[in-house]
Amino acid sequence: MTVANESIKHTLSTTNQTVSPTIRRAFPHLTAAQIEEFGQALDAIRTRTIADLGERDAKYIRNLIKFQRRCEIGGRALLFAGILPPAWLAGTALLSVSKILENMEIGHNVMHGQYDFMKDPLLDGKKYDWDTACPGDTWRHSHNYMHHTYTNIVGKDRDVGYGILRMAEEQPWEPKYLGNPAYALALALLFQWGVALHDIETEKVLSGEKSREQALAELKVFWKKARKQLVKDYVVFPALAGPFFLPVLAGNATANVVRNVWAFAVIFCGHFPDGTVMFTEEECRNETRGQWYLRQLLGSANIEGGKLMHIATGNLSHQIEHHLFPDIPGHRYAEIAPEVRALCNKYGLPYNTGTMTKQFSTVVRRIFALALPPRRKAAAQTAMA
């Protein structure tokens, strides 16, 4: 689904020898040739890993899906007995785990085409639809294409702010951003709706940049999916419980909110902790493949943790590896991370990682800091750069 107003095709250059201003400022010793070497080394990791995909990866995703479905069936079943507090707590917890796993480790990764090699029609990245309000096709366009191609390019990567937040200094300050923390909280609690309506670009419709007809067509697609999700979680499942509908409804709502907040936290830790870099549209035009890889690295941040953290975050604990290799199955990221890290060391590049607490606290601080207008001195500096 290519949106009609994207007449500018993303093309990689093979000859561009200029290092972009942002990179030059941060890494004055890095040459264009070194960036290409870096890219080629990453390509080699990618080719080797993809050639290795097979039984092990198929088993992993199938076992994970089995586990997730069991959580879902168990959770929903327990909620029917939800009038008893332990059943409600257990049911809601299981359903929350189910939604988190299905959206993050399964859905997001399957839709990236990570498991296309299996040729299983139920795991086909182009056809998969997931347990959340956002239609699969919409996600494939806004995330797989737009976010992953234009990562951290202010004005092109819509994930920088979701159209309502100020998440980068490069986004010009406006008085409405005084509400940044409030918008962030609302977005976190209602994240599935923020994601689903991401592409509508309401502010562009209001400014006239985007046609109302197009927005309405997109809303139709959104509503078709959203309605099914709402009916499932808030009408039919509660109705099946008869007089005990309230615990079911409350449990489903809570599970959705838990997933929303967790996904929000993990995703915001991906590109906004201290140390992540933003880019301008101009400097990324005519990027080479190596420069694309470099932007992906500098724009992403990892979360430290064990195997449980990796599965719970849908392997976005390895946001760096995910952005370098979106189509490699997520559980492989932990295995190739040491190699990626070594490459970064070799070229004097940062490898942004930290605990969830550390990464998220810097994100929260940023949300509050960017709510305020920049200091005069800083404003002048930005103007001169």
Binding site: M1, T2, K9, H10, T11, L12, D43, R46, T47, I50, A51, L53, G54, E55, R56, D57, A58, K59, I65, K66, R69, R70, I73, H112, G113, D116, F117, M118, K119, D120, L122, G125, K126, D129, W130, D131, G136, R140, H141, N144, Y145, M146, H148, T149, K225, K228, Q229, V231, K232, V236, F237, R289, W292, P326, D327
Partner: protein, 380 residues
């Protein structure tokens, strides 16, 4: 006799969902509860044979027919609608994590009372599926199969004579026909002519000899191409002489030929020469062997749905499709977002980022990083 068969059939209920349960599971209510994954995703948690839409089958037995051919006896679930003699199924198996689909003719009688379905797999040299499937299928293994397909079948009104010609694994659909006809007490005459290198290579060899012995209306002749023939059997590849020696009443017969390209071509030509082309039914098995590697420039690229044909200039298939006036879905144009993924119906393409070739028919490729290697047909 008919009543006995019905009674016998009802004793063996196929595994899977009963009609009532299936109706419930296919209902709107269940669709709402299982959206967006669908009910089959949940059913397979309980029993891999349970499916609302798909035909699944359990391997109940494997029978080694020759050194390189194995019959796999399947019990399909209740979604199976049966097969007419001569039809084939697409069978999907997971091998090393990858689901591979191949077509195999049903070799069992269409009137088997126990509801079991045989396919007979002959190992193709260099093939990805036939070897593992034939060698590694085990009782209890679950496979997905399509409903029966194909129009290489007996006519509604049976003719008085039938001639069944085959070579190698081409015997499988003909065997299904033969077994079915015998189960139905067919009164007409059947001539079977089968080509194989040696007697040891004849699949169902002993059963065929047995049938010829027991049934006066069935004649079986083997033609061995690399051995000495016994008795009235023939030597060498297909020829007019074989046909004449087989039967004098060819003009009255409905004829069927299935096997390798060479045999099919020769039989077709001979029947045409005799003015009997209209009485010959043909089933061709094509092996999924990779095409010889050619150049990216100069091959013919066919866009099936866009109804365009171009000569490749070596650029990516996405660029070439757009130059041809098509507007396929696209995105990053660098091989990571999968927006331009589509089906390559046939031909070979090369991924310019990884260097990997896609050689199989109906393989999915990313247009933006693929170049054609020789002639290619795309499903866009």
């Amino acid at each position: 006799m008919t009543m006995n068969m019905t009674q016998a059939a009802s004793k063996t209920t196929p595994p899977g969902l009963s009609a009532g349960l299936r109706r419930l599971l296919a209902s709107n209510l269940v669709a709402t509860l299982t959206t967006p994954r669908g009910v089959d995703s949940y059913l397979e948690m309980f029993n891999p044979l349970w499916s609302v839409n798909e035909v699944r089958a359990e391997v109940v037995e494997t029978i080694r027919e020759t050194a390189d051919a194995t019959t796999i006896r399947l019990r399909p679930n209740s979604n199976w609608l049966g097969a007419r003699a001569g039809q084939y199924v697409r069978i999907s198996v997971d091998l090393d994590g990858v689901r591979r689909t191949r077509c195999y003719s049903v070799s069992s009688s269409a009137l088997r009372r126990d509801g079991l379905v045989d396919i007979t797999v002959k190992t193709v040299h260099g093939g990805k599926v036939s070897g593992p499937l034939g060698g590694a299928a085990y009782p209890g293994m679950i496979v997905t199969i399509s409903q029966a397909e194909g129009d290489y079948t007996l006519p509604e009104e049976w003719p008085t004579r039938l001639v069944l010609i085959s070579g190698g694994s081409g015997i499988t659909p003909n065997m299904a026909m033969l077994r079915t006809l015998l189960d139905e007490r067919y009164a007409g005459h059947i001539d079977v002519l089968h080509y194989a290198p040696t007697y040891n290579d004849v699949i169902f060899g002993s059963e065929l000899v047995d049938i010829a012995d027991k049934h006066a209306n069935v004649t079986v002749r083997f033609a061995v191409t690399r051995a000495t023939p016994d008795g009235e059997d023939f030597s060498g590849h297909f020829s007019a002489a074989h046909l004449d020696a087989l039967t004098n009443d060819l003009a009255d017969a409905e004829a069927y030929v299935c096997g390798p390209q060479g045999l099919i071509d020769a039989v077709r030509a001979e029947f045409a020469a005799r003015g009997l082309g209209g009485k010959l039914h043909v089933e061709q098995f094509t092996a999924q062997t990779p095409a010889p590697v050619a150049d990216a420039i100069g091959g013919e690229v066919r866009f099936a749905r866009g109804e365009r044909v171009i000569t490749s200039d070596g650029r990516s298939l996405l660029d070439q499709a757009e130059s041809a006036g098509l507007k396929p879905d696209s995105g990053c144009r660098m091989g990571i977002c999968m927006a331009c993924k589509c089906t390559k119906a046939k031909g070979v393409t090369k991924n310019i980022v990884t260097g990997e070739f896609s050689t199989e028919a109906n393989d999915e490729i990313q247009l933006c990083v693929s170049v054609p290697v020789g002639d290619v047909t795309l499903d866009i």
